[in-house]
């Protein structure tokens, strides 16, 4: 009985460790990534004061919409408007990082 419990506890500990280590980048990293991946430069520190009036505000936008736009600009599927300005920097972010950034942006106040 004791051996069974010990084994179960070990398995539980290992599972938790595995879960934690394979977690995608957390949303709070999104704030940091937004800076280090240079999104901040064009979209503004609050994600709603862009450098150019024709650049979009991102704060409070829908998470999946943001992610799709990033992916499409990165792949070239979206190539309209100012996406040329953004395409050059998209290789700086992985899918996981784009997810984290989108998630964080969606939590920001719109106004």
């Amino acid at each position: 009985m004791k051996k069974a419990i010990t084994t179960m506890l070990l398995v539980l500990a290992a599972s938790l460790l595995f879960l934690v280590s394979t977690q995608p980048v957390f949303a709070q990293d999104g704030a940091n990534l937004y800076k280090t991946k240079t999104c901040i430069a064009c979209h503004g520190p609050d994600a709603k004061t862009p450098l150019m009036p024709v650049y979009p505000r991102l704060a409070g936008q829908n998470e999946i919409y943001l992610l799709n736009q990033m992916k499409d600009i990165k792949s070239g599927k979206r190539s309209n408007g100012n996406s040329a300005a953004m395409k050059g920097v998209m290789h700086l972010v992985t899918d996981a990082e784009m997810e984290a950034i989108s998630k964080w942006l969606s939590t920001l106040p719109k106004f």
Binding site: T38, I40, A41, L51, G88, V89, L92
Partner: protein, 245 residues
């Protein structure tokens, strides 16, 4: 060259923020720089004394991508600006603003710098920054070939150390970010970078992509005289605290 000239003139007149009179002045900087941009604000900025303190304020916008150290991005997306000649920086920003060099990412940042004095100020600030003592390089496998190519093709303008020439506006390339060098070389050869010196375009015309990898790896490792400048900044300024020196 003439077509690009007149194209640049049209774009310039539409886009220069101050709306100043569009006078194409003769280059006053150096005989060797006559191939360079005739953009008026560039020529003006070259003659002005820059104020690095005002330049620091202007640079904060640039720092988001080029980093506070001005060492650029190791992946080569944004070049190192530290150590670059003021004449070269002035020309590049002016060319981007005027549409002589296509860079949609840079364009809105370039237009933040309003006029010749601000241009002189920001490059004066950048000139105070030390260069990266340990820049990213390639894998080192083609260095011998890179060295041979460099000595035959590049020394004449960029010098043995890769320092180029401030007077002739030949860029300092020694220690530049490896991947950035490769991309610019390809774009110069293929005509995508339209504001390159025509002699440069001719010089790299026969280079293969692998030649570029070889020469870029060699060049990224070069140490120019500018590397020795401002070295005490590395020791005293906290933004360099993680650098080994």
């Amino acid at each position: 060259m003439k077509n690009m000239f007149s194209k640049g003139l049209v774009v310039l007149s539409l886009m220069i923020f101050a709306g100043s009179a569009n006078v194409m002045a003769q280059s006053v900087f150096a005989e060797g720089a006559k191939w360079g941009s005739k953009v008026k604000e560039a020529l003006d900025a070259l003659e002005l004394k820059g104020d690095p303190e005002n330049g620091y304020d202007i640079y904060q916008v640039c720092a988001a991508c080029h980093l506070p150290t001005a060492w650029g991005d190791p992946a080569g997306t944004f070049p190192m600006l530290a150590g670059q000649h003021t004449s070269v920086l002035i020309k590049q920003i002016a060319d981007i603003r005027a549409g002589n060099r296509d860079n949609p990412t840079m364009y809105p940042f370039a237009i933040q710098i309003e006029g010749a004095q601000d241009l002189a100020d920001v490059v004066a600030y950048i000139a105070t920054l030390p260069m990266n003592p340990d820049p990213p390089t390639g894998d080192g496998k083609l260095l011998k070939r890179g060295e041979e190519l460099y000595k035959v093709n590049c020394v004449k303008c960029h010098k043995e150390t890769g320092e180029g020439s401030i007077k002739d506006s030949f860029p300092l390339i020694g220690g530049q970010v490896y991947d950035y060098i490769i991309r610019q070389l390809k774009w110069i050869r293929d005509g995508k970078r339209r504001n390159a010196n025509p002699d440069m375009v001719k010089q790299v015309n026969e280079f293969s992509d692998e030649d570029f990898i070889a020469v870029a790896d060699y060049v990224a490792r070069l140490k120019t005289p500018n590397h020795k400048r401002n070295l005490d900044e590395l020791k005293t300024n906290p933004i360099y605290k993680n650098v080994k020196h």
